[in-house]
């Protein structure tokens, strides 16, 4: 199962990449993906799956695009 993960701001520096296609065994939750890419779940404040808000205990599907960002205000 292929899932694209896109990270923002300091999560990029924590995980060591800004965008990656992950090859994952199903079933897998977002929470588990966070652990795999070494991001503290408490810092992943905004998670969108294919543009829609999603809870971290939900399962991902093949082809999903996850957008994960911490809080930030922009100025």
């Amino acid at each position: 199962m292929k899932v694209t993960v896109k990270l923002f701001s300091y999560l990029i520096h924590q995980a060591g990449f800004s965008q990656k296609e992950l090859d994952l065994p199903a079933p897998v939750t977002i929470q588990e993906i966070l652990e795999m890419i070494k991001i503290k779940p408490s810092l992943a404040k905004i998670i969108l799956r294919n543009g829609q808000p999603v809870r971290s205990d939900e399962l991902v599907k093949d082809g999903d695009r996850l957008v994960i960002s911490p809080i930030f205000s922009g100025g």
Binding site: S9, Y10, G51, F72, S73, G74
Partner: protein, 612 residues
């Protein structure tokens, strides 16, 4: 009274006189400081209808009880006046050593009135005020002016100064201090310029009166360390505020091409990662360990201190994706003392108006070299700069041809770098921001994208906008401190009453602060209504183009979607209802009474009929 010096320094530039005044404990408790002091003083002392660029306007510099105390991010000062851009109350905050020096000199507020006969700068050293000729620095940029003042008075002084933009009354000229620090978007720099005041220099030697000095020292210093630790652990300041650019591009909220588009494939070239790679220095405000000022070398080799708003408005919104060129535009705005957001918004509007045949000219999106030249013309009010110096709304009224619909502003103040063509709650935040479209008051976009259906116009969005306005446009603007530890690092809001209580000896809870916030919002609104007695709710509308189906994105995550005016209106009604304002957006008599504003609203009632 602890926490407050209880003193105001009033300086009259016409008569070159000054005097110390005291304020009461009741005043301190009712308005707390910063924005609260400023709005009340300007309400009491300005006559409606005065020319904001005439001698009758007053410039207020105000700190709050937390300002300057060693605790997280307390180096901010509020500057305020009647705005030459919006015609209503205007203010801004900036990080500056003035915060600490003013407190040490024994004041919480400066009131600057009148107009100097010739270019002047003022020095304040404890009880002494001196008026000096600014002949040598008038006409100079803000960096050069600061260097000149540092050379004369030493580097520990606090400085507020203006560049050529303020001198030449550009309606969105800001006040500058310390490296890239700037504040007062709605033309506070122009107000200084209109008074022939080039700079204010402050130095103090007294102690700031604090109720429990030992406790605040211990807690404050420890918390500064804690905030630094969280920052280091998370790595927030690697990209600082600019981390949001890539996210805005992803969720279709980036300002591109005068906000006609919401994302751009080249946006990565100016995002936080690229900025961090280009970093040559880092600057910050006093009493701050987060230091968010990422500095790069611009095209010409100057140091340019960047944040997200600068890059969004001077970069993507102008379709300029060369980082060093965005740096150049940023540097020029700082040097000339122009607000980067309004400058970017105004230039983008100009290019858009040319594109749509409403104006003639040779400026196109993506033309960085011409943009630089236009900033120079603006700051000096030369050629087309005379028009650009007026801001997008006045330009649109000059051009006609329906261009006002895409002048991206609210109440005359240009919208900051979030494109809300399909983000209803954030559009409401811009619509109801107290001083015009400013992001500082209610940054609701993450809540909205993350926790609500984006397309909803539910009451909870209005509720959230108010909740954030109370914190961001209220609490942090009147205690006065930088909101970033809370916003960016999740530093608990409960810390702030602790600091406040240790400093003042009072026993306030967060709820007590919300009451002050609501009072301030009501009085700022009253200010606007007093200036524009025909006030109606359309003044809280964002630009028409956000409701125009022809302007919907053709591709991407929000393709075909646009704000709905009828639903926006309903959301606005929720907002008014929750605030206790009538359907014109004017606080009711009952609300005024609840907030202790009977006297102010009785005066307002002479101009405008109020509802119960």
């Amino acid at each position: 009274m602890y926490g407050w010096t209880g003193k105001i320094l009033r300086i009259n530039l016409s008569s070159k006189t000054y005097r110390q005044e005291t304020y009461s404990e009741e005043f301190a408790h009712k308005w707390v400081g910063g924005r609260g002091f400023a709005v009340k003083i300007l309400w009491d002392e300005l006559k409606p209808g005065i020319d904001p660029l005439g001698p009758d306007n007053k410039l207020i510099v105000a700190v709050g009880p937390i300002a300057g105390i060693p605790a997280p991010n307390t180096g901010k000062t509020v500057v305020a006046a009647k705005s030459p851009l919006t015609g209503g109350y205007g203010d801004g905050n900036l990080g500056t050593r003035v915060t600490i020096q003013l407190r040490k000199a024994g004041y919480d507020v400066l009131i600057i009135e009148g107009k100097a006969e010739t270019p002047t700068y003022v020095t304040i050293e404890d009880d002494q005020v001196a008026f000096h000729s600014a002949a040598e620095i008038w006409g100079k940029g803000s960096y050069e002016t600061m260097d000149w003042l540092y050379a004369k008075y030493g580097r520990s002084i606090g400085i507020l100064t203006i560049g050529q933009g303020g001198e030449n009354l550009v309606r969105y000229a800001i006040i500058r201090s310390m490296e890239g620090r700037a504040g007062g978007r709605p033309g506070m720099g122009a107000v200084m310029g209109s008074k022939n005041l080039k700079a204010i220099v402050v130095k103090g030697t007294k102690n700031i009166p604090v109720a429990d000095e030992e406790a605040i020292k211990k807690i404050g210093t420890e918390d500064l360390r804690q905030v630094q630790k969280i920052d280091q652990e998370t790595g927030w300041s690697i990209q600082s505020t600019t981390g949001v650019l890539a996210w805005c591009n992803e969720v279709a909220a980036l300002p591109v091409r005068n906000m006609r588009k919401t994302f751009h494939p080249e946006a990565w070239r100016i995002d936080g990662e690229r900025l961090n790679e280009a970093r040559v220095a880092t600057y910050g405000c006093p009493n701050c360990t987060m230091r968010c000022g990422i500095t790069i070398l611009d095209k010409e080799g100057h140091e340019a201190e960047m944040d997200y708003e600068n890059i969004g408005m001077l970069g993507s919104n102008l379709e300029i994706f060369e980082l060093a060129q965005v740096g150049s535009l940023n540097y020029l705005c700082d040097e000339y003392g122009l607000d980067t957001i309004s400058a970017g918004g105004t230039l983008a509007f100009y290019a858009d108006a040319i594109d749509h045949g409403a104006a003639e000219g040779d400026f196109q999106f993506g033309d960085a070299e011409r943009a630089k030249e236009l900033l120079r013309l603006t700051a000096h009010r030369e050629g087309v700069g005379e028009l650009l110096a007026e801001g997008s709304l006045r330009m649109a009224r000059h051009f006609g041809h329906g261009s006002e619909d895409y002048a991206m502003q609210v109440k005359g103040l240009e919208i900051s770098a979030y494109n809300c063509k399909f983000i209803p709650g954030m559009a409401l935040a811009f619509g109801t921001s107290a001083i015009g479209a400013h992001h500082k008051e209610s940054w609701v976009i993450t809540y909205e994208i993350n926790e609500t259906p984006r397309e909803s116009y539910g009451r909870e969005k209005a509720q959230k906008v108010i909740e954030l306005q109370r914190i961001r446009g209220g609490l942090f603007e009147f205690i006065v401190a930088c909101r970033f530890p809370w916003v960016e690092l999740g530093w608990d809001l409960e810390h702030y009453p602790v600091y406040f209580n240790k400093i003042t000896g009072l026993n306030w809870q967060l709820e007590d602060f919300w009451q002050v916030s609501d009072r301030i919002y009501a009085l700022i609104r009253a200010h606007f209504v007093r200036e524009f007695p025909d006030w109606d709710r359309t003044r809280d509308y964002p630009p028409r183009v956000w409701f125009d189906p022809a302007n919907a994105d053709k591709e991407g995550p929000i393709a075909g979607k646009i704000l709905d005016l009828k639903k926006y209106d309903e959301l606005l009604s929720h907002y008014y209802d929750l605030r206790g304002w009538d359907d014109r957006g004017i606080p009711t008599r009952k609300t005024a009474e609840k907030l202790g504003l009977n006297e102010e609203f009785a005066a307002l009632e002479k101009l405008v009929k109020l509802n119960d």
